[in-house]
Each structure stands twice: as structure tokens, then as C-alpha cells.
Symmetry: C2
Subunit: 106 residues, 2 copies
């Protein structure tokens, strides 16, 4: 499995705008080959910003790479944008390979 994360530093006071954008967004992900799961994560609060992360799980890295070149990706990324002051810098991408997993017994 491959995990794609984008980390967003959102200026204090812009949290609702950012969350609303994601809630209303049509991601077109559900039918993308190799896509497994998506979460939007709300992380720690710092002095000037709140850390958010988009977290998507893929069968393999190639599934994610193929999606970046797809029509579904283009369609999802021409939607509404937020004003520049929402973000403290560009999103930071990190890709991870899952090398170990442990499920719950329950």
C-alpha cells in the first residue's frame, strides 16, 4: 500500500473556510483504480496556524501516480479555491510506503 499525504498550514481564523471547501468538494476518487481510502485530518494548533493533512491510501504508488495524470484529478482540481491568505505557504507533499501493519483484534 502507498500513502499520499499533503500537509497544509492554515492561518488561524480560516479553519472553517478550509474545512467547508473540502466538505463541498467532489473528489471523483471513489471510482479511481487503486484508490482505497481518503481522510482529511485536523492536527495540532501552533501560534500562527493549524496543521491539516490530506491522507489517501492507494493499492500501490503507481495507482497514485496514474491518478495525478488522470481526468478525475483535473476535474477535482478546477473547483473553488480559497484566498491566498488562507495558507501559510504551499502544501507539503509526503509519500509513504506501508511496510508493516497491525489490525485490531476486535
Amino acid at each position: 500500500m502507498f500513502i499520499a499525504m499533503n500537509r497544509f498550514q492554515i492561518a488561524i481564523g480560516h479553519e472553517d473556510d478550509f474545512e467547508t471547501l473540502w466538505r463541498n468538494r467532489e473528489t471523483y476518487l471513489a471510482s479511481v483504480p487503486g484508490f482505497l481510502q481518503f481522510h482529511l485530518l485536523k492536527g495540532p494548533v501552533a501560534d500562527t496556524h493549524i496543521l491539516y493533512a490530506s491522507y489517501s491510501v492507494w493499492e500501490k504508488r503507481q495507482s497514485f501516480d496514474d491518478w495525478l495524470e488522470s481526468e478525475a484529478f483535473k476535474k477535482a482540481h478546477v473547483q473553488a479555491r480559497l484566498p491566498k491568505e488562507t495558507y501559510l505557504g504551499p502544501p507539503v507533499f509526503e509519500g509513504f510506503d506501508v511496510i508493516l501493519s497491525e489490525p485490531s483484534a476486535g
Copy 2:
């Protein structure tokens, strides 16, 4: 749901030791109340290190906080350790609330 991540900067050349430690570790997590899932993630390579992240999913933040105080946590953390030069600095903890999710259609 709550996500607990710890980010580890592992010195180049120490990847195998670090991965072996995790593979051989008894986490005692499976039976912990509120525990859902664990992944060890291998991330981007930088000049001096490789980023790894432990990623655990919990029913709620309180489940994770309770685990930190538990016997299961103590037992999991008295096991084998690696030499100090394995790590470029201490692990960095980040806790996230899951605010949006999207499953695959498949």
C-alpha cells in the same frame, strides 16, 4: 476517529535496524480498547536521513490517552532499543482528528 503519528528521522544506513526493531516488536496493541489499526510508514529520503512514521488509528483521542497510561504501553516500550546514532533527533508526535472520510466504491 483519532490518528496518532510519530515521525522518526533515521540516519542513512540504519534503515534495516529500524525496520527490524519494529518487525520484531510485540506491540500489545491488538487487545487495547479503542485501538483500530497500526501502520509503519516509510517516507521520503532526504540528504541525511529517511523519514519514517508510525501511524495508529483510534476510536477517539481518549482511547489513545488511556493507552499511554496503560500496562500494555509500558510493556511495549521496555523492549530492545537502537543506538542513539540511529536517530537524527527525538521522534516528533502529531495527533490528528479525522474530520472527513471517503471510502473507495470498490
